[in-house]
């Protein structure tokens, strides 16, 4: 039962993050320096949730991001799933409770996610990738700053649900 509640909690959280990302925290308003809540959630799921449920929620979240950002089919869905699986693979060999691990995971996931997007655009379209490396690094830092307190809050809320 606890597992079910926990999964439901993550699903609702995923929906909440998407809605916040499209309204108050939309890059349309904030420019490049916005906290990427979807990515933060996916990093959290990769580090702390079980593989199957986490992957499905990550897929749903990334797919919604694709649909709500002008139907960029596959770009976020696959890049975020790649982030999830890569982190899941490495999470066995690191200590995820450490803030340093969490921060590094968020930062490199941001870089990895943008690199993935850049690779797809470069190989398959003539759309110009106009996000500079400095912006990507800055967004990684913004994601760390927003992500660590969000991780703490999610863990607290989830622990309360489990209790």
């Amino acid at each position: 039962m606890n597992r079910l509640f926990s999964i439901l909690f993550y699903v609702l959280l995923s929906l909440l993050f998407i809605v916040l990302q499209t309204t108050f925290l939309s890059p349309n308003r904030l420019g490049v320096f916005y906290p990427d809540l979807s990515l933060i959630l996916i990093v959290f799921l990769a580090l702390f949730s079980e593989t199957k449920a986490g992957a499905i929620i990550a897929f749903g979240n990334a797919y919604m991001t694709d649909v709500l950002s002008g139907y960029l089919f596959g770009l976020h869905t696959f890049s975020r799933l790649a982030v999830f699986t890569t982190l899941k693979g490495f999470s066995e060999n690191v200590y995820p409770q450490s803030k340093l691990t969490q921060g590094i995971s968020i930062f490199f996931s941001t870089i990895f996610s943008w690199f993935f997007v850049w690779a797809v655009l470069e190989m398959k379209t003539d759309i110009e990738f106009d996000i500079s490396p400095v912006s990507v690094i800055s967004q990684g830092i913004v994601n760390i700053l927003a992500g660590l307190p969000i991780f703490w809050m999610i863990k607290k809320s989830n622990a309360r649900i489990q209790a």
């Binding site: 890059p27 349309n28 991001t65 002008g70 139907y71």
Partner: protein, 275 residues
């Protein structure tokens, strides 16, 4: 599941392969708006609309909080009264501004040869990659369908990319995949206005054409999406590339602060050349 944990890089490469194969489908409009995507759009609509309605109240509460920080206890009542009046004034000011905008929108709507509906911008794109997308609180139930032009009284905003039951997604003219067939208003020189993220550029203008900085750019109506004669923007720079003139165009509409827009109920199928 053990396979995923053992071979994360291999899985990522497989995802990259799939993304590369599937991504071009994003630009094939026939594939747009499958039932599942429309469901996602509708699913997001209710919380987005709720937050949109709530945001006005939150701004008021925040304003209230900021105003009350540091207020001494004995002055609280008086300050609250002043604050109420301030909020009232702010609300009236907001209402006046909204009234002005709506009046202009109504004027534009009435002068349009096509039926039109007004809509509120309730959300934006969640992705930094394509931030030139906004979400409106009108959908198929209001008669909106894919490809319809979206404007304000100041000019063209974009066109409808995907429609849900009660909300729709609009791609702005500044997006890189956006293109509008256009004229220079003064000289009728023709070209294509394309988005480039932070503005637009009018390409394929013949070299002999007369184009100057400050010229207004209007839609030609020949692309089948936008009605003829709607303002797109103003020429702010000119360069000659090859056999063509390339003009930098600054949209007349402030696309970063859109609130109310008009969706012109003109389907691309109903297009008429030389309207």
């Amino acid at each position: 599941m053990q396979f995923i944990k053992r071979h994360p890089i291999l899985i990522s490469v497989i995802f990259l392969f799939f993304a590369i194969q599937l991504f071009p489908l994003s630009f094939e409009e026939k594939k747009l708006g499958n039932p599942f995507s429309r469901f996602v759009l509708t699913l997001a609509y209710y919380p987005q609309k709720f937050l949109f309605s709530l945001s006005g109240s939150i701004v008021g509460v925040w304003q209230n909080y900021i105003d009350l920080v540091g207020v001494r206890e004995e002055n609280e009542k008086l300050k609250t009264e002043v604050n109420k009046l301030r909020q009232e004034k702010f609300r009236l000011w907001e209402a006046e501004l909204q009234n002005e905008r709506l009046k202009k929108l109504l004027g534009f709507k009435e002068s349009s040869p096509y039926p039109a509906v007004t809509a509120n911008v309730i959300a934006g794109s969640p992705s930094g990659l394509r931030s030139q997308v906004v979400i409106l609180d009108r959908g198929t139930v209001d008669g909106i369908s894919q490809g319809m032009p979206v404007t304000t009284y100041e000019g063209i905003v974009g066109r409808v990319l995907m429609v849900g039951r009660k909300s729709s997604e609009v791609i702005l003219i500044t997006d890189e995949i956006s293109a509008v067939d256009a004229y220079i208003h003064r000289t009728r020189a023709r070209g294509i206005v394309k988005g480039k993220g932070d503005g637009c550029v009018m390409e394929y203008i013949e070299k002999k054409s007369d184009v100057s900085i400050g010229d207004k750019v209007i839609s030609s109506g020949k692309d089948g999406f936008f009605p003829k004669g709607v303002v797109i923007g103003t020429v702010v720079g000119i360069e000659i590339t090859g056999g063509f003139v390339r003009a930098q165009v600054s949209p007349d509409v402030d696309l970063n602060s859109l609130e109310e827009v008009i969706v012109i109920l003109k389907s691309p199928e109903n297009m008429v050349f030389n309207e």
